[in-house]
Amino acid sequence: MREFLQMGGYAFYVWTSYAVAAVALIANIVVPLRQHRRLLARIARRARRRSAGE
């Protein structure tokens, strides 16, 4: 296990690479997901306001 984390002394380079990749790829999923939820909520709110106003 320790050897796995150490990566033959290259731990910083290897793990930073994978960490940066993970962050970038997860961000590109989370951001659109959140945007989707926000958009739908906004549209629903406006529809409710419109029907309430009638």
Binding site: V20, A21, N28, I29, P32, L40, I43
Partner: protein
């Protein structure tokens, strides 16, 4: 032939595409997760250390697929742009625009992982290697697309302008790549191109291909997620969007 043409027409309708995306996303995400998990396990745990580079070579499992994706996505973006320009399909416009940030992310990853690989190997954070330099130019091409889209007010005009830019870029990419290689061989001298393994062992090739496939599915998922948002945003006033918002509420 008629069935195919008709299917493409239905595919081009936003509500149909939206619902299709909703159904596809979980499956694509599952495939992506499985492939990446498999690739990571085989690459990080099972594959033996390289006799020349030790453990640091394992960065290729994220560097090379990222570089491949960065090029692939640009081509898809240009293709979608062509469809958007010629046939004025809204979905194609959305796909072209949505591809740009994803492609830029992969290009950025290829550059960062390339630097992190280069430092322990050749002692420098940046080498003017032909491939890295081409990737850098590609990043600027992506940033240009993203900037242009953001600068034009009308979304449809913006998408079509971006399509033209993407097409011009895609024609240039092989020219840029070839000229950078030419530049590199003459300025670098006799050193072998740094990022090409002479021949890659099967135990390293399989995780590489798994990661590449996983990244493809990732692109599909990320693309569909963004296109979903674009469709809802564009068709805000329409009935089908209202229904979906109502369902969620």
């Amino acid at each position: 032939m008629n069935i195919v043409v008709r299917y493409f027409h239905t595919l081009g309708s936003p509500p149909y595409f939206y619902r299709l995306a909703q159904r596809l996303i979980p499956w694509l995400a599952a495939a992506c997760a499985a492939l990446i998990a498999g690739g990571l396990y085989l690459g990080l745990v099972e594959a033996p250390p390289d006799y020349q580079q030790g453990e640091s070579y394992r960065i290729i499992f994220v560097h090379v697929p990222s570089a491949w994706m960065s090029l692939f996505i640009y081509v898809v973006m240009a293709g979608a742009g062509l469809v958007a320009l010629v046939w004025r399909v809204k979905i194609a416009e959305a796909m072209a625009v949505a591809s740009a940030p994803i492609g830029a992310t992969f290009t950025f990853l290829a550059l960062v992982t390339g630097s992190l690989w280069g430092k322990p190997m050749w002692g420098a954070w940046w080498v003017w290697d032909a491939r890295l330099t081409s990737e850098l130019v590609l990043l600027f091409l992506y940033l240009g697309v993203i900037a242009l889209y953001g600068a034009i007010e009308d979304r449809r005009t913006a998408a079509r302008a971006v399509a033209v830019l993407a097409l011009v870029g895609v024609v240039n990419i092989p020219i840029i790549h070839y000229s950078v290689e030419w530049w590199n061989t003459l300025h670098q001298g006799p050193t072998v191109t740094k990022f090409d393994a002479p021949s890659i062992h099967i135990s390293m090739l399989i995780p590489l291909l798994l990661m590449a496939a996983g990244f493809m599915f990732y692109y599909a998922v990320a693309l569909l997620l963004r296109v979903r948002c674009a469709l809802i945003d564009r068709e805000q006033g329409s009935k089908w969007v209202g229904e979906i918002a109502g369902e969620k509420a």
